[in-house]
């Protein structure tokens, strides 16, 4: 048997239906004759409440802000791609030169890192990327609202 108490007060269906009738009448501008006077007064007052309105420039301001934010994000992404591409290219060229000059011993820095396991390798890569990312955002100005 379910012994849990309901988490909300039960709704009296007859009261609810009567109030809905009044609300519909008020909304449609019909007379709610014979209905509860307090309900009619309440729903009329609710229907007449002024709607809060944003200032006229709000939508344009937000749209401009969103466009600036999007442009800044794209700029950061582009910068990140270029620097990472440059680093990869630089490392590739240096490695190529190293291999050309002194054989496969040029792999030494990477292979030494791999010897300590993939967790350390991953941690070093993540830390390096975090530093780089922070620098990139700092250089370009952090995208903000």
């Amino acid at each position: 048997m379910n012994t849990r108490k309901p988490t909300h007060e039960p709704v009296d269906a007859s009261v609810w239906d009567a109030q809905e009738r009044v609300w519909r009448a008020v909304r449609e501008g019909r007379a709610a004759d014979g209905e509860d006077v307090a309900d009619v007064a309440l729903f009329t007052a609710l229907a007449d409440l002024p709607r809060p309105t944003p200032d006229a420039d709000f939508a344009a301001d937000v749209a401009a802000l969103a466009a600036r934010q999007q442009a800044r994000h794209a700029q950061v992404r582009r910068f990140r791609r270029r620097v990472l591409g440059g680093l990869a290219l630089g490392y590739g060229v240096a490695l190529g030169i190293g291999v050309g000059l002194s054989g496969f011993g040029a792999w030494a820095p990477l292979s030494r890192l791999f010897q300590h396991g993939w967790v350390l390798t991953a941690a070093v890569c993540v830390a390096a990327f975090a530093v780089f990312d922070r620098l990139a955002r700092h250089t370009l100005g952090r995208p903000h609202a």
Partner: protein, 188 residues
Amino acid sequence: MMSDRELVQAVTGGRAGAFERLVRLHQGLCWHIVQRIVRDPDETRDLCQETFLRVHQCLHQYRFESALKTWIGRIAYSIALRHMERRRKALSSNIGGEEGQALLDGMNSGHDVAQAAEQDEMTAWLLEQMDTLAPVQRTALTLYHLEEMTIPEIARIVGAPEGTVKSHLYRARQQLRARMAEYIGEPA
């Protein structure tokens, strides 16, 4: 009139003016939800701006499972609630629990009333009464009666079961009805 799908596709496709159009279409709802919770015009503007920037960032995640206005309403509601939580924490850590809460309550009530001073007496009175309701009751009442949303839509926005929303709305109406009866001199 563009459908939700066409509008979202226009925004995500980067069509000029599409996002501004989306904001214009839904800013009223967003304002309603946020203002009923925070009750401060400046904060309302900032939080609505935050809401639409979030919408802009996350629009590609919208799956058309509910109406766009419900999805935006949900974001506005959670941003406003989080803001109130932060404000509550800041006040209670600065001043201390009960005193902070009392100040917060004092700060909240009367804001709309002051704004409505130039409007008619009934409007000012009703806004004052609405201010005494719990935030979720105020939100349910506002969305149902002023935005004319359905109970399932409100339930999606506040993240509660439909029965709970209906109960909040019922309780809010009963409380206001009793006060209205007293105000107009009718037996409750």
